[in-house]
């Protein structure tokens, strides 16, 4: 067992599960979406990106790309959340909430691709 591989897979799967958990629920209902879960998803996603740095294979490059997409989507989602809570005059409206969740849902797709690539890579190794 390769410890590095365990940590790597752990973070990648965790990024997907946290992200999925956040997205689950009604699209525009703020009560269904936990801000802490978004925060955790963003942090884990950033760590995933760093873990994927420096891999020179083609698959490695793809994984880094999906991770960067997930980061981008989650940061935009977090930005919308901050805007709704702090800046918008009307506060957190269902419309803003829907944007936050849809951006996070996009990130979930990117994370899903990441996990699929991880599975593909594992399947390719015949040992």
């Amino acid at each position: 067992m390769n410890r590095e591989k365990v940590i790597f897979a752990f973070f990648i799967v965790l990024a997907l599960t946290l992200n999925f958990g956040f997205v689950l629920g009604d699209l525009d209902n703020a009560a269904h979406h936990d801000v802490f879960e978004l925060f955790a998803a963003l942090v884990v996603s950033l760590i995933c990106t760093v873990l994927k740095f420096g891999d020179r294979t083609h698959l490695g490059a793809l994984m880094l790309a999906t991770s960067l997409v997930a980061d981008l989507q989650l940061i935009i989602a977090a930005g919308f959340w901050g805007y709704g809570e702090q800046i918008a005059a009307a506060g957190m409206t269902p419309r803003i909430m829907a944007s936050v969740v849809s951006f996070a849902a996009g990130a979930a797709v990117a994370n899903l691709i990441s996990v699929i690539l991880l599975v593909v890579e594992t399947a390719l190794i015949r040992r």
Binding site: V35, F36, F39, V43, L46, I47, V50, F53, G54, Q86
Partner: protein
């Protein structure tokens, strides 16, 4: 390029993850700890404010407590956070600096700079592997002629020496193992402008692998190598290496020439060496028996060359086994008087100290000279660092392998016609060589005798080619001074190569034909002047006719109407 970024990212993984984790924990902690607002109500910091606060706390340790004054619990958490964030920042910055200072990083940076420098070369260049004595001489003289060079050497010291040599044209150089095809590729082996590969390392195997790699990757590229053993020479010749220089054999041939025909030797020497021997040195040699000290690679090459000339010789070597097949060998080192006397030093005309030990060689010469002051002395210098002693040893010939190889290679690189001429020279007699050397001497005196070739083709001699279409051009016009046609340039033609054959010292009335190749020798100034007459139509027209008319379109029209009316 990619290697660098990947190395950087790999090394910064740990500090980046630490930084993200510490930030996440502190931000998360800030949102969990209850605070009090201005009115004393319980208040939880949201992520936005927490991230804002941690960001400036981590980098500047604070603009104060925002948006409300902190409670004691919050302050305790902030205290911990300050240490955690500051330490993780220091760790991250320290790691970055450490990566920048790593030798591997520096090596990759240098390789990258070298590769891009070579890739961007837009002029023809030679790839020189090995910057020892030979390499440095070759590089210096190529640079003096304005030819670009790329250098690879395995020792950093020599690359440093190259940087300190103050060459006028920048020379991309890399410290790496030239026997690796990758390195050769980075050094421009497959570059379109690479016109030749010079394998000059002191290791036969490395030279061999460079020659093979070059011949496989770019079959038509010129490859010149040095070698120390006959096995390697044969091996290299087998796959078409263009020129193989064996310094011992080269010098043995040179010595045989010296002993047999001193004037031919002078002609050879003047054409090959930048600092040539004086004319008077030709009269010293008398025919007779030679003593050779040391029967190693050099001694064997000498014996072969001497016996081909049917010259008498006595060989001294410390090992009886080496001397077994010889009838006139003397066992001993040659540094003691009794060995030399046994070898008959008093009746010999010359002695060659050719062992691989410099101190022994000098000792042999000094002892021999005491016994017989009239000896012609030849000494082999093995280490370049001993140059000062050898220069002052008052020997007639100092044999320094590095310099011999360099001169041979430069003669080849100057123009391929020069080796052809030297080959032809061997077949002439000494009287012919004597006339030649007198002619050379009257042209250049004590200055360096340069040689160059002129090819009569539209690309290399446009003016001559155009002129030939209108009127015949005799060889002597090229010899005239383009500034004043009744004066001659300090040079003369050595050889003419036509489709039919090769002529030595062609007559000045020879009518130039397309495809003729000429070899000239003379002062370097003459070479530059001759470039005018070869390339500039107006200059050549002046040389042929003595007229220097304007050659504009208008002038030509006027002239034509003049001729028509007349």
């Amino acid at each position: 390029m990619n290697n660098l970024v990947f190395l950087f990212m790999r090394r910064l993984r740990a500090p980046l993850i630490t930084l993200i984790t510490v930030y996440a924990i502190t931000v998360f902690g800030m949102t969990l700890i209850p605070g009090r607002d201005a009115d004393g109500n319980v208040w939880y910091m949201d992520f936005f404010h927490a991230f804002y606060f941690v960001s400036f706390m981590g980098t500047t340790i604070g603009f104060g407590e925002v948006p409300y004054e902190f409670t004691d619990a919050q302050r305790m958490w902030v205290t911990l956070s300050i240490y955690a964030t500051v330490i993780s920042w220091l760790y991250g910055i320290g790691q970055t600096l450490a990566v920048l200072q790593e030798p591997m990083f520096g090596r990759l940076m240098r390789l990258r700079g070298f590769t891009s420098h070579v890739r961007n070369l837009r002029e023809p260049f030679y790839l020189v592997c090995g910057y020892g004595v030979t390499g440095s001489i070759v590089v210096k003289r190529l640079i003096d002629r304005g030819v670009r060079v790329v250098v690879v050497d395995i020792e950093q010291d020599r690359i440093d020496a190259l940087e300190l040599d103050n060459l006028v044209i920048p020379v991309p150089s890399l410290c790496a193992d030239a026997s690796l095809p990758d390195i050769l590729d980075h050094a421009g082996l497959q570059h379109k402008q690479c016109i030749g590969v010079l394998a000059l390392t002191n290791n036969d195997n490395v030279n061999l692998s460079i020659a093979i790699a070059s011949k496989l990757l770019a079959p038509r590229r010129q490859v010149i190598t040095r070698t120390n053993s006959e096995v390697t020479t044969a091996n290299m010749a087998s796959f078409g290496t263009d020129m193989i220089v064996d310094p011992f054999r080269a010098y043995a041939d040179y010595m045989a020439l010296a002993a047999r025909s001193p004037h031919k030797l002078l002609a050879y020497d003047w054409l090959m060496n930048p600092h040539h021997r004086t004319l008077s040195s030709a009269y010293k040699h008398a025919p007779g028996r030679w003593i050779i000290c040391g029967y190693g690679r050099f001694g064997r090459a000498l014996a072969t060359a001497f016996s081909a000339e049917e010259m008498e010789m006595t060989i001294i070597d410390p090992s009886p086994g080496n001397l077994a097949p010889l009838k006139n060998g003397v066992v001993g080192v040659g540094t003691e008087a009794h060995t030399l006397l046994e070898a008959g030093v008093e009746s010999a005309v010359g002695i060659i100290a050719g062992t691989d030990n410099d101190a022994d060689n000098l000792s042999v010469i000094m002892t021999a000279r005491e016994l017989n002051p009239k000896l012609t002395t030849v000494v082999r210098q093995n280490l370049h660092q001993n140059a000062l002693i050898f220069r002052n040893s008052r020997c007639d010939f100092v044999m320094e392998p590095g310099r011999i190889i360099a001169n041979r290679i430069l003669a080849q690189l100057k123009t391929p016609l020069l080796p052809l001429f030297l080959e032809q020279l061997q077949q002439q007699d000494d009287v012919w060589a004597h006339t030649l050397i007198n002619r050379m001497s009257s042209v250049v005196g004590d200055r360096e005798l340069d040689s160059w070739s002129v090819q009569v083709t539209p690309e290399t001699a446009p003016a001559v080619s155009t002129m030939m279409a209108q009127r015949p051009v005799a060889l002597r016009y090229l010899n005239k001074d383009p500034r004043q046609r009744d004066r001659m340039l300090p040079c003369f033609p050595l050889l003419l190569k036509t489709a039919e054959g090769v002529h030595l010292l062609p007559g000045e009335l020879h009518q130039l034909q397309a495809g003729d190749e000429l070899l000239f020798c003379g002062l370097g100034v003459a070479k530059r002047q001759m470039e005018w007459s070869v390339n500039n139509y107006n200059v050549l027209h002046y040389l042929l006719t003595g007229e220097d008319p304007p050659d504009t379109l208008l002038a030509r029209l006027l002239r034509r109407s003049d001729q028509e009316s007349a």
